[in-house]
Structures are given as structure tokens and as C-alpha cells.
């Protein structure tokens, strides 16, 4: 290092020639590459999250696009309904169309007799179908006494079955000839001349292993409980507490042993070679179609089995080759759509009476507790009214306030305070605005609950800082020369601002406003607190009607246990996202179209 100070830098150590990559340089380059890779993977993670989110939603939403209808011939029996064409329309509407539809289904499937079976049969049709039929008949009373073809809306479970949500009915190849005869106890003896059921038997046995596995997993969980109670008992401070835990432990041990024993039994059954195997509702369902009707098997062997009639079958069948065999892989106990319902649905489908059509109701109806009847329109209109209120408050107040702060406000402590306050308000959690709305507008001013009026005001207050900040930025971007030019020809400050600065800042202000409104449109939490989460079946017609909004509708539906609501939720999200995308696109368009560089 001594030569550093000399006048001969050529003799000093060099970082190396240009081309030669030293080991140190390679290391430094690798560090750079690593940073780049971290950055790229970060972006990849964000993009993957977005894709996962959107594809979940879109994939789920598909189920809500279509709905299932029965095209059913119904005789409008005046005696049964106790009305005549000359009755008052209101009376007609109140007639028992529900029972009429049920009766016409029962006539179609006379085998359904038990309470459970009848309920399953009635459940094929949505509860909303009778209202539609009633409205239709009330509008044209002359139909009474005639037979009409009417599209009855199917229930949500029927629709899910049609979508394949419970698995597909899987047709098996058959080689033999089928014989079916009725035994004394009413069950059917089924046999084929070939080993047509061998594969099914294998599946039934495999299912037993799965079941045993599941039972063992449950037993494991009980074992956990046993351990936990044991630990608690050991750590217990009082004898009483100890006793309690030991009792719980004993319970858990008992449950565990029962589960394990059950699993053992299942495995033993599965391992027993050959022989008839019972097909219970925990196992796959085996369907036979022959003799003009449907059966399912309750016991199966390679070539034979015991069956049960689901729809009317012409007996006896002898050496018929005109039959088919189907397996439903999901166990009956796991799906809310029974074997009976499957048989009825398939029968109706063969008759060409079931159709899946585009679900217009989803876009025109308001909320309902029944998934097949629920629609998004009520929430869309609710959102519309709420946004009207929000916009008409927040836009003028925000823009005028921003003009004051940017153009007129003297620099003093009060305006500083307002500035700090606006910045802080922008970061207040939205739920706090909900509490504000609850305390001030509902409790203090006594405004109506669940109304777009209150929701709109709360969202307006929440959006206000965003709009003020955006509007100020837009005003700040207008160069001072514009103001000076206006003032220079003798305009007052107010005139300069309103005639020259504001119009130039308007595109920027509008962009900020649209983005703020989009945020307000997607906001949920504060609205929950002011009661917009109520169940509202009417489309609101004004800002003081009870209403719900799109994001709250999403929240409500996501909370319902019915599986069909999952698709509705996703579809509602799609509608919401569509609105947001349109608004954001508009904002981007405005920004691009009117962007001005000074």
C-alpha cells in the first residue's frame, strides 16, 4: 500500500483486466443474480396468488350459470285447488299449488309411499315452483281445469346432481342375460348369466378398506383426546377436576375401541374371499335398469345379487339382454340426493322432461333462502342506491374541500391540523366507520337500519380522504402559470380556480374519485355493523328501503351451509369484480386519455 501515495498508479494493485472475471467478481455477480431471482419469485408469488384466487372464483361460479327445470304436465284440477276460473286472482294465487305439484309427482311415481320417500320426491322440485305456477295461473285463470305443460324449477340438489357434483352415474359393460324375480319378502333376486357384477363387487370391497381407514383416523383423534384428558387429569388442581377429566378420558377410550373394532370388522369382511357382500348406504350405489324401471342392489355377488325396486319394474324378467348396470361412486350417505331421487331423475331425463337452461333468475331475482331461487339483482340495486348516496356526498364535499385546502387555505395551524387529520382518517380501519354509523346515524339521528342512505353516508365519509388526497394531487399538478395567467388578466382568485384550474384538474379528480368509489363498492365491514347484512327478499326501490349490497351478499351466501350457495357466492363475486374491473378500466382510460405533462 505504500506505493498508493506514489505518482505511479500503474504500479498499484488493479481490480483486474476488463475481461477477466475474477472469483470475487463472479461471486458478486451471483449475489446480484440471487437478488434478481428473489424479485422475480416475489412477483411470481403475487401473480400465482392472483391466478389462484381468480380461478377459484371463476371455476366455482360456473355452477351458478345454469339451472335445472322440469317440463312437467300438470292437470289444474279445479276440485283439488278449490278455485274456478271466475275466482278472484288473489284467491287463485293462494290456492294450494304446492300440493298440486306434489300430487302430480306422486302420480308419476306411485312407488314412493313412505314418509321419507315422499319427502325426497317432493324435494326434487324447488319451493319456488308453486309460486311461479300460481302466478301463471292467476294471470290466465282460463287454464284452470285443463292440463298444461309447465316448467317447474328444480331444487338445488337436483341441479347439483345434474352438474355432477355428487359424481357421475357410471355405466358398466354387461355380457350376460339378466333375470329378476320377486322373493317372498318383496326384495328382488337378480342374476346374470355372466360375471357382470364382479367388478362392482371389487369396488364394494375396496370401499370397505377405505371406510376402515377412515374409522382408524377417527380412532386416532380419539386417542389424542385420551392423551389430552390424561394430561389434564395429571395436571388437575382439584380432585373434582381430575375426576371430570378421567371420566372424559374413559369416554374417549370407549369411543376409540368401538371405532377400532368396527374397522377390524370391515377389514375382515373385505378380506373374506368371494361370497355375497352387503351394499349399504356407506358404500357405492349399484343401479340396474331393466323392465322399464330402475332397481338398486342391496347385496351383490359376482353373478347375482339382491335388489330393491326404485321405480316400477315389470316382473318377472327372464334372460333379458335388454338391461344396463350403473355404478354411482359416491355413497348414498355422503350425498343429499338419494338413490330414489337418482332413479326418478334418470327416468324423467329419459323422457326428455329435464333440461338445464341459462340461469336468468340469478340476474333478475333478489335474495332467497333457497339457493335455486336466490339472485343477485336485489344486491346490485342496493349497491346502486348506496353508491348514488356515496357519490353525491363525497364527490362535492371532497372536491370542494380539496380546492379549499390546495388553493385558498392560509398556512396556519388549523389547516395543518386538517391536513394531518385527513391523512390519519385515510388510515382508520373501515370497521370503525361502521361503529360511527351505528352510533351517530342509527342511534343518535334515528335513521332507518339496513338502508342505502346510512350505508352511503358511512361509505362517503370513508371515501372522503381518498378523494380529497387525489383531488389535491390533481390540483397541485396544474402549473402555477395557469393561475398567474388568469390572475394577470384581472380574474379573481375564485374565478381563476373555477374557470381554469378546476377544469384542467378534472380528469385527475375523476380518476381518483372512480378509484375511491370502486373501493367503496367493495367495502363490507362497516355495512355489517349498520345492519345491511339483513335478509332482504325485495329489490329496494329507494335509498330508505331495506337493502343489501353486493359484497355483503357475498358474505351472507358464503356463510350458508347449502353447497349450492358456494357457486352462487362465487358468481356474485364475479359480478362484483366485473363492476370493479369496469370502473378501474374507466379510470385508466381517463388517465391515459387526458394525461397531460406540463
Amino acid at each position: 500500500m505504500a506505493d498508493l501515495a506514489s505518482d505511479s498508479p500503474a504500479a498499484a494493485p488493479r481490480p483486474g483486466s476488463l475481461a477477466a472475471g475474477s472469483a470475487r467478481l463472479r461471486k458478486r455477480r451471483r449475489a446480484e443474480l440471487r437478488l434478481k431471482i428473489y424479485g422475480l419469485s416475489a412477483i411470481g408469488i403475487a401473480a400465482a396468488a392472483l391466478i389462484a384466487l381468480l380461478s377459484t372464483v371463476v371455476f366455482q361460479a360456473g355452477g351458478a350459470l345454469f339451472t335445472t327445470y322440469f317440463d312437467k304436465e300438470i292437470r289444474l284440477d279445479t276440485d283439488f285447488l278449490e278455485v274456478t276460473p271466475s275466482s278472484d286472482p288473489e284467491t287463485i294465487r293462494r290456492a294450494d299449488f304446492d300440493a298440486l305439484i306434489d300430487r302430480s309427482l306422486e302420480q308419476r311415481f306411485p312407488l314412493a309411499t313412505g314418509r321419507q320417500e315422499l319427502r325426497e320426491l317432493h324435494d326434487l322440485v324447488s319451493g319456488g315452483a308453486s309460486f311461479e305456477l300460481a302466478d301463471h295461473v292467476a294471470a290466465t285463470p282460463d287454464l284452470l281445469g285443463q292440463s298444461i305443460n309447465f316448467d317447474l324449477i328444480g331444487s338445488d340438489t337436483l341441479d347439483l346432481y345434474k352438474q355432477g357434483a355428487y359424481g357421475q352415474l357410471d355405466q358398466q359393460p354387461v355380457n350376460g342375460l339378466l333375470s329378476v324375480s320377486q322373493l317372498e319378502d318383496g326384495s328382488l333376486a337378480v342374476s346374470s348369466s355372466a360375471n357382470d357384477f364382479a367388478d362392482a363387487l371389487r369396488q364394494v370391497k375396496a370401499q370397505l378398506y377405505d371406510d376402515a381407514e377412515r374409522l382408524r383416523a377417527q380412532a386416532d383423534r380419539q386417542q389424542n383426546a385420551v392423551n389430552v384428558y390424561g394430561e389434564r387429569a395429571d395436571a388437575a388442581e382439584t380432585a373434582e377436576e381430575r375426576e371430570e377429566n378421567l371420566a372424559d378420558q374413559a369416554d374417549a377410550i370407549e369411543k376409540r375401541d368401538a371405532l377400532l373394532a368396527e374397522a377390524e370388522a370391515l377389514v375382515a369382511r373385505a378380506e373374506g374371499a368371494g361370497g355375497a357382500e352387503e351394499v349399504d348406504e356407506e358404500n357405492v350405489s349399484l343401479f340396474l335398469k331393466a323392465g322399464g324401471g330402475w332397481m338398486h342392489l342391496t347385496e351383490v355377488n359376482r353373478q347375482s345379487g339382491t335388489g330393491e325396486m326404485l321405480t316400477q319394474v315389470d316382473l318377472p324378467i327372464e334372460d333379458s339382454e335388454n338391461w344396463s348396470f350403473h355404478i354411482m361412486p359416491s355413497p348414498e350417505a355422503d350425498r343429499p340426493f338419494s338413490d330414489n331421487q337418482i332413479a326418478w331423475t334418470e327416468t324423467l331425463k329419459e323422457a326428455g322432461l329435464i333440461e338445464r337452461v341459462f340461469n336468468t333468475r340469478f340476474f333478475t331475482a333478489a335474495d332467497s333462502r333457497a339457493p335455486e331461487l336466490a339472485g343477485i339483482w336485489g344486491a346490485v340495486v342496493g349497491s346502486f342506491w348506496t353508491m348514488i348516496v356515496t357519490f353525491s356526498l363525497t364527490f362535492p364535499v371532497g372536491v370542494l374541500g380539496a380546492i379549499y385546502l390546495q388553493e385558498f387555505a392560509p398556512k396556519n395551524r388549523f389547516t395543518d391540523f386538517i391536513e394531518v387529520n385527513i391523512n390519519n382518517l385515510a388510515a382508520v380501519p373501515s370497521i370503525v366507520f361502521g361503529l360511527l354509523g351505528l352510533a351517530v346515524f342509527l342511534s343518535f339521528f334515528g335513521m332507518p337500519r339496513s338502508a342505502p342512505l346510512v350505508g352511503g353516508i358511512v361509505l362517503a365519509l370513508m371515501t372522503l380522504p381518498t378523494i380529497i388526497i387525489a383531488a389535491r394531487a390533481a390540483l397541485r399538478a396544474v402549473p402555477p402559470s395557469i393561475r398567474e395567467a388568469a390572475l394577470g388578466v384581472g380574474a379573481s382568485k375564485v374565478q381563476a380556480v373555477f374557470h381554469h384550474v378546476l377544469p384542467l384538474a378534472m380528469p385527475g379528480i375523476l380518476t381518483g374519485t372512480i378509484i375511491g368509489m370502486a373501493a367503496a363498492l367493495g367495502e363490507t365491514a362497516p355495512l355489517l355493523l349498520i345492519g345491511m347484512v339483513a335478509f332482504i327478499v325485495d329489490v329496494p326501490s329507494g335509498i330508505t328501503d331495506s337493502a343489501t349490497v353486493l359484497p355483503v351478499q357475498v358474505f351472507r351466501w358464503s356463510d350458508f351451509p347449502e353447497r349450492a350457495f358456494e357457486a352462487k357466492t362465487a358468481a356474485a363475486i364475479c359480478v362484483l369484480l366485473t363492476f370493479l374491473v369496469v370502473m378501474n378500466a374507466l379510470a385508466i382510460f381517463l388517465r391515459k386519455r387526458f394525461e397531460r405533462r406540463w
Binding site: 498499484a12 481490480p15 483486466s17 476488463l18 475481461a19 472475471g21 455477480r29
Partner: protein, 265 residues
């Protein structure tokens, strides 16, 4: 600095440090540098002059490939440093910039202490094995930049707290600390007051003993004061290149003369 000195200096023409041929620079569609070719000598101060927007700074940034950092910028042509093509594929700009240091128009010390500012380059290049070595490098660099006496008692204070002239000398110290062979200076005095300017100019003259210095300036007086060779750029072209004394007293090109006499600028 008097004209006598300019004349008495005999420059060895063989000692060429940087040689550029047919350099073209494009900013997007804008052709900013056209067919520039120049040989820059070692141990010499070379000044680039010309009206603003003439491309002199752009060309300077080609010499240590700082233009790489600008997305839309594209450089063509050959630039050789000691006979090596700096735009060759196997050349790492990082390596190049360690050899070709740069000082910018506005002093840009890092928001760190004076010591850390100067030690930054040696540290990243691994030039010092021990703290003592690093201390020595920092001291040498600060001495070369004529800042040692002012800064030695406040090495731990922020570099941004110095005055403008001191900041610029700190930046020069920072550049010198990596022991470059070439120092590029992009209008190093344009943000400084006259006193600081003369200090920096004196420093440049001293640096000539060790380095090949290239300075861009919009001040003809400055060029005349500090440089031995001068290149005049106009609208992206290198109009004239030669001994500073000759350019200022007897320019060959009409445009150079117009600029020198203040008719274009």
C-alpha cells in the same frame, strides 16, 4: 493558468488511453451521437465542449458504459480502453467502471459518513484486507482530493453535511479511492460557486499527473484553464478535436469558431 503552459506541453501521441471509432448513440429513435471517433491520451486532461444538448455528456457516459442503465439507450461502434473493446460481450461493466471512475454534475455523496463514502468503492472491490489498509486508502484518496485537512477530524459525520465544493471533492475522493485509470467528470463545477470551482479546477490539474481525465464542461474558460486537449461537439457530431490552445485560438471549423466567439451556444 496561462496560455504559455498550453503551448509548452509536448504530448506523447503514442500514449493513447481511450480510442473511439464510429460511435453512434440512439435514445429510442433519436440519433444522439453520430459517427464520433476520438483518441484520448493518458495523463492528460481532455475537455468536451459544445452547446447544451450536443451529446458531450452522452458520449462521456459511453466511456464507462453508464448508458447501460438507461433502458432506451443504444450504443454502437468501437471504444477501446488500452486496446480492449469495452463493449465486448465478455467485458463486465462493473469491472470497467472500477477502472473508469466518474464524477457527476451535481455532488452526489451517499447519505453515509465521509469515511464510508470514500471506503465504499474499495470495500465492494475487496481492495483492503484489513481496517488499517482501508484507513490508508481513505486517507490517500482524501489527500488526493485535497479534502483531508478539512475532513480528517469529522470522518464520521455525514457526507451530505459538507458544503457544495467539499461534497464535490468528496465525490472525487470517492472515485479516486477505487484507483481508477481514467476519471470522467461531467460538468463537475456547474453546481459550485466560483471559489469552490477554482479549488476543484486546481485539483483536476493535479490529478492529471496520475490519471487520464476527461471533463465535460459548458464553460469555455474552464476548458481553456484545465485541459490540454479539447473536443468540440455540435448536434451529436464531433466537429473538431485538437490541442486546446489551437481550438481556442485558431479553430479550423466554422462552427467551432462561432461557438468560441459566442454566436452559437
Amino acid at each position: 493558468m496561462n496560455d504559455m503552459r498550453l503551448i509548452e506541453r509536448a504530448v506523447d501521441m503514442d500514449d493513447i488511453k481511450i480510442s473511439a471509432r464510429d460511435v453512434q448513440v440512439y435514445y429510442g429513435d433519436n440519433h444522439a451521437i453520430k459517427d464520433v471517433g476520438v483518441d484520448i491520451e493518458d495523463k492528460t486532461v481532455t475537455a468536451f465542449i459544445g452547446p447544451s444538448g450536443c451529446g458531450k455528456s452522452t458520449f462521456l457516459r459511453c466511456l464507462n458504459r453508464m448508458n447501460d442503465t438507461i433502458d432506451v439507450c443504444r450504443v454502437e461502434g468501437d471504444i477501446h480502453l488500452d486496446g480492449e473493446d469495452i463493449n465486448a460481450r465478455q467485458v463486465d461493466p462493473v469491472q470497467l467502471r472500477a477502472k473508469v471512475g466518474m464524477v457527476f454534475q451535481k455532488p452526489n455523496p451517499f447519505p453515509k459518513s465521509i469515511y464510508e463514502n470514500v471506503a465504499y468503492g474499495p470495500k465492494i472491490h475487496g481492495m483492503a484486507a484489513t481496517k488499517a489498509e482501508l484507513d490508508e486508502i481513505v486517507e490517500t484518496a482524501l489527500r488526493r482530493a485535497a479534502l483531508w485537512d478539512e475532513a480528517k477530524d469529522r470522518l464520521d459525520t455525514a457526507g451530505t453535511g459538507l458544503s457544495g465544493g467539499q461534497q464535490q471533492r468528496l465525490c472525487i475522493a470517492r472515485a479516486v479511492a477505487t484507483q481508477p485509470e481514467v476519471l470522467l467528470m461531467d460538468e463537475p463545477c456547474s453546481a459550485l460557486d466560483p471559489i469552490a470551482t477554482s479549488q476543484v479546477e486546481e485539483l483536476i490539474d493535479e490529478l492529471r499527473a496520475n490519471y487520464c481525465v476527461v471533463i465535460v464542461t459548458h464553460s469555455m474558460q474552464q476548458a481553456a484553464r484545465v485541459s490540454q486537449k479539447t473536443a468540440f461537439f455540435h448536434l451529436g457530431n464531433l466537429v473538431e478535436y485538437g490541442e486546446t490552445g489551437k481550438i481556442f485560438t485558431n479553430p479550423e471549423d466554422e462552427r467551432t469558431e462561432s461557438y468560441i466567439t459566442g454566436r452559437i451556444g
